[in-house]
């Protein structure tokens, strides 16, 4: 007798939905054990986290504040992941997007009409994010350089660069760190509390990406490249060009996340821009199974863990890192569980099924 995994003929829809949910529960269970061991009541703690994130309208808007960059970077990395390009660099792309937007707001906005300033800031953020993702994309497409390592390394470079700017070169006189506040023309309008219209960017982009992935030729090409490069070549798809284009788009969306964060929240470049959204984005995208619409909701869930963590730190003197532990713990069971979406488990040696042609 033997336990074996048998390839399914098509992806199991049940598993696609169940695996992320079970993974989330596993992570909550693991977190509960950890909390209990450290002397806190897990139920009370989770209750406090939940009400901290959703309990009042104000808190909910704060959850949205954190959800916006998670949704945007989640959408960004999901494009890359569709083609099996492991862009771990959303953090750096977001950071540089914020830097570029800040640069335009501070130094290039004089004498321009108000509406143009904001537009240019956002555009600069997208371009900066695209360039930062473009470097590893070109290295991968044309030199076959492993993208996980290059995108990771560029995160550190981008963050150090932004620190240099707000601690030294762009530091406003009279501050220990941080630039001068942006002119009001560069402020991203807010909807409720501190939640800004970046939320609409995320919703609109999710709709567009859903359409592109499911209803356009280019979306289909990306899918084929991700699933079978040999088939893509036979079909005459230019793999290198498509990888670079898709990753430029991926980086641009993360850059947009950074730009809307600085223009909508702090409204100056200061510490606190690079707080790990770009890494959590990986969990968001994966948990949503790369579905752009689902990414919006998972973004809110992950933001709630962060805001809930902050709240219990203030109220219960427990470390805010609880949220980070829960997030970190979701990804592992989810990856381990992904085998169930593609395989059956058989306890006895089965007859081999014929290989199905998969398109």
């Amino acid at each position: 007798m033997q336990i074996i995994f048998e390839k399914r003929e098509s992806v199991s829809r049940q598993a696609v939905i169940l695996v992320p949910i079970v993974s989330f529960l596993v992570s909550l269970l693991f977190g509960a054990i950890l909390l209990a061991l450290s002397g806190a009541n897990p139920f009370i703690t989770y209750g406090a986290m939940f009400s901290g994130a959703f309990g009042t309208w104000n808190r909910f808007t704060e959850t949205l504040v954190k959800a916006i960059p998670l949704m945007l970077t989640g959408l960004g990395v999901s494009i890359a992941f569709r083609m099996r390009f492991w862009n771990i660099g959303a953090e750096g792309q977001l950071t540089l997007g914020g830097v570029a937007a800040a640069g335009v707001a501070l130094y290039l906005s004089q004498g321009l009409p108000g509406w143009l300033v904001l537009l240019l800031c956002i555009l600069a953020g997208c371009i900066a994010g695209a360039i930062w993702a473009g470097v590893p994309a070109i290295l991968k497409a044309y030199l076959k350089v492993d993208e996980t390592l290059t995108t990771l390394m560029l995160n550190y470079v981008a963050i150090l660069f932004s620190e240099q700017l707000y601690y030294v070169s762009w530091r406003a006189p009279g501050y220990n760190s941080g630039t001068a506040p942006f002119p009001e023309t560069a402020w991203l309008p807010r909807i409720a509390g501190r939640a800004h219209i970046g939320l609409f960017f995320a919703i609109i982009l999710a709709g567009i990406l859903w359409f592109v992935f499911n209803r356009t030729r280019w979306g289909f090409e990306l899918k084929i490249i991700g699933e079978n490069q040999t088939a893509a070549r036979y079909l005459g798809i230019d793999i290198e060009r498509n990888i670079v284009l898709a990753i430029l788009l991926s980086g641009a969306i993360s850059g947009l996340a950074g730009a809307s964060e600085v223009l909508g929240i702090a409204r100056r470049l200061q510490q606190g821009l690079s707080v790990g959204y770009g890494y959590t984005a990986i969990i968001v995208a994966w948990m949503a199974q790369l579905n752009p619409i689902v990414i919006l909701f998972v973004g809110i869930l992950m933001a709630a863990l962060l805001v809930g963590g902050d709240q219990i730190q203030m109220k219960m003197r427990l470390p805010a890192a609880v949220g980070l532990v829960l997030q970190g713990m979701i990804l592992i069971p989810m990856l381990a569980g992904s085998i169930f979406t593609e395989y059956h488990i058989r306890i006895i040696r089965p007859q081999k099924t014929g290989v199905e042609a998969e398109a």
Binding site: F5, L139, L143, L160, L331, K352
Partner: protein, 310 residues
């Protein structure tokens, strides 16, 4: 500015610091070399290092015995290695992204545990340098090579040891076979899963030790993200060390000397912005990866789960 850097005692200082800082790179990269030679890509080294750094620090703080801290780092490393092996070998998950999962887990968990258990900045009595008799009296070379704590010597000794294990023992042959043609190895009765589990756990233990070196042999303190990407750089070092211990030694020394240079630039207060100096190793990693691309051999089954039925 340049002549400031070229004074003899500064060159010696940079080289001595460089040799000391090569330890975490060497430990983590030699471990990852075994992991990758067996066909598994473990990107979680950074997270394991963070947990190793924390557990080594905390146990030393509580017990006052750094060797118990080392033991804790070994145990924590092994446990995280088992988790990675289960996910990537048994469950055949995507390895790059599993590693990121392990990184995030280690990052969050180490931060959480530090705040629960310690919560304030404090230092421990770590390992002291041991001057090797006679050898440490050699001018220049003595200071550069023979006046370090035991972990530095240990990691340097691991270079020839790993080479012998990998290329001159039956077990090493099995590891290499499993990483290149797991099907053939399987036919010959080698347990592909067994070898991969062993290599992932060995690599993770060494990553745990690399982390513990940072808190017990370098800073004597723990801080959030104190590994600062060294675990990821160690993974890159395996690439341009071409999966060979000697190549990894050369790469580790090169990177640690750049690291040391960066520290000395800060100490001397040279007119280079601090952030740009700190950036150097990361930029260099990207450049080095691009430079060796296409010309490198890699274990053919690297990153591919083994499924006997497939």
């Amino acid at each position: 500015m340049i002549d400031q850097l070229l004074q003899t005692h500064i060159i010696i200082g940079v080289l001595a610091t460089g040799v000391r800082l090569s330890t975490p790179f060497l430990l983590a990269a030699l471990g990852e070399m075994f992991t990758q030679r067996s066909g598994v890509f473990n990107l979680g080294v950074e997270g394991i290092m963070l947990m190793g750094a924390f557990s080594g620090f905390w146990v030393t703080l509580v017990t006052g015995t750094p060797m118990l801290g080392i033991l804790a780092a070994i145990i924590v490393g092994a446990l995280m290695g088992l988790l990675m092996a289960f996910v990537s070998v048994t469950m055949q998950a995507k390895q790059g992204i599993s590693g990121i999962g392990l990184y995030m887990l280690g990052w969050g968990l180490a931060g959480f545990l530090f705040r629960i258990t310690v919560g304030y900045v404090t230092s421990v009595e770590g390992f002291r340098p041991i001057a090797i008799p006679i050898l440490s009296d050699i001018p220049i070379l003595g200071t550069v090579l023979f006046n370090h704590n035991w972990m530095v010597y240990f990691s340097l000794l691991l270079v020839p040891i790993s080479w012998v294990v990998l290329f001159k023992t039956t077990w090493g042959l099995k590891v290499r076979a499993v990483g290149v043609t797991p099907e053939a190895a399987d036919t010959l009765g080698v347990s592909v899963r067994g070898i991969r589990y062993a290599c992932v756990v060995i690599g993770s233990i060494m990553a745990g030790l690399a982390g513990a070196f940072l808190t017990l042999g370098h800073t004597n303190m723990y801080g959030d993200n104190l590994t600062a990407g060294r675990g990821f750089i160690a993974v890159a070092l395996v690439y341009f060390g071409r999966w060979n211990p000697w190549g990894i030694l050369a790469g580790s020394l090169f990177f640690s000397i750049v690291d040391a240079l960066q520290l000395w630039v800060q100490v001397l207060g040279l007119d280079i912005p601090y952030e740009f100096a700190v950036m150097a190793p990361y930029v260099l990693t990207v450049v080095a990866l691009a430079a060796v691309s296409g010309r490198i051999w890699e274990p053919a089954a690297l990153g591919k789960p083994f499924d006997r039925e497939a």
